[in-house]
Point group: C2
Chain length 163, copies 2
């Protein structure tokens, strides 16, 4: 078994954020897309932890920033970031999380801890192929696959839930 994944153990999270921002800049440059200050700030906020963040949570922080922002500001930034695969929306939570596989084409699977709220994004090729097989048997042509697993992470399966 692999060692605990990042979200589940102490780590230098500033490095996570820095790397995410660096990659985002690079990806946007490749696509001639403009990672404007607002968009970058939203991405940074989403990466403030490995827990998903709601649009209105983001909005509240922007307000603290002194940024005079309304909901469309946030949703537009989120749309942009999703478009370039920099963040994912977790449908079962109405919240957003930074993509840990930005750039690489992937169909994510999300492990959502009910106790500590941390989310781990996996690539899970086995799952993707099983889904495609099942869909093919019904002659269904998949376009977008949502896989969200709620449960308990390694840290929270034991009796002492993590933060």
């Amino acid at each position: 078994m692999s060692p605990s994944a990042l979200p589940y153990r102490p780590h230098n999270h500033d490095a996570c954020v820095a790397q995410a921002l660096t990659e985002a800049r690079s990806i946007c440059q490749q696509h001639n897309a403009r990672l404007t200050p607002t968009r970058e700030r939203v991405l940074e906020l989403i990466w403030q932890s490995h827990k998903p963040l709601g649009a209105y949570d983001i909005l509240a922080v922007l307000a603290e920033d002194g940024h005079n922002a309304a909901p469309p500001t946030v949703y537009r930034a989120l749309d942009f970031l999703q478009q370039y695969g920099l963040v994912h929306r977790i449908a079962s939570l109405n919240a957003f999380i930074g993509c840990t596989h930005a750039g690489k084409s992937h169909s994510g699977m999300f492990l959502i801890c009910r106790s500590c709220s941390n989310v781990l994004e996996l690539t899970a090729p086995g799952v993707a192929s099983a889904v495609n097989t099942a869909a093919a048997e019904e002659s269904f042509r998949p376009d977008d696959v949502t896989i969200e697993v709620s449960g308990y992470c390694p840290g929270c399966t034991s009796d002492t839930p993590h933060d």
Copy 2:
């Protein structure tokens, strides 16, 4: 390849509804749960087609019925029906669909057609086991699995989208 699944071809849908209601009565009886008129009516409305229905759509029909209903009425009925596995919520649509495997314990996978909106619920044991394997590799204990696949159904892959 199997022939087209029910939602994708003409069929006697009244039979779908009748069977769903019969099974629901039986399941509720087994659990000493009361399938009250409101709950039964909501279930019937959800089964009016193989397309998912929003809570406020249900509310509107109840109003036409002359039923003086407010949102909590609908959401409470939906909670009840979900609790006994009679309907599922489709997170990516904020909508509800009748369960086609009521009674049998199952972890569903939903094929959602972008064109005609019909939803097919599959059992897909291969997918379930792939998800469990992937989760186990991260020492994650799954509790609830959401798998929603948006795409195009057999009828809508061709150039003439179905209703």
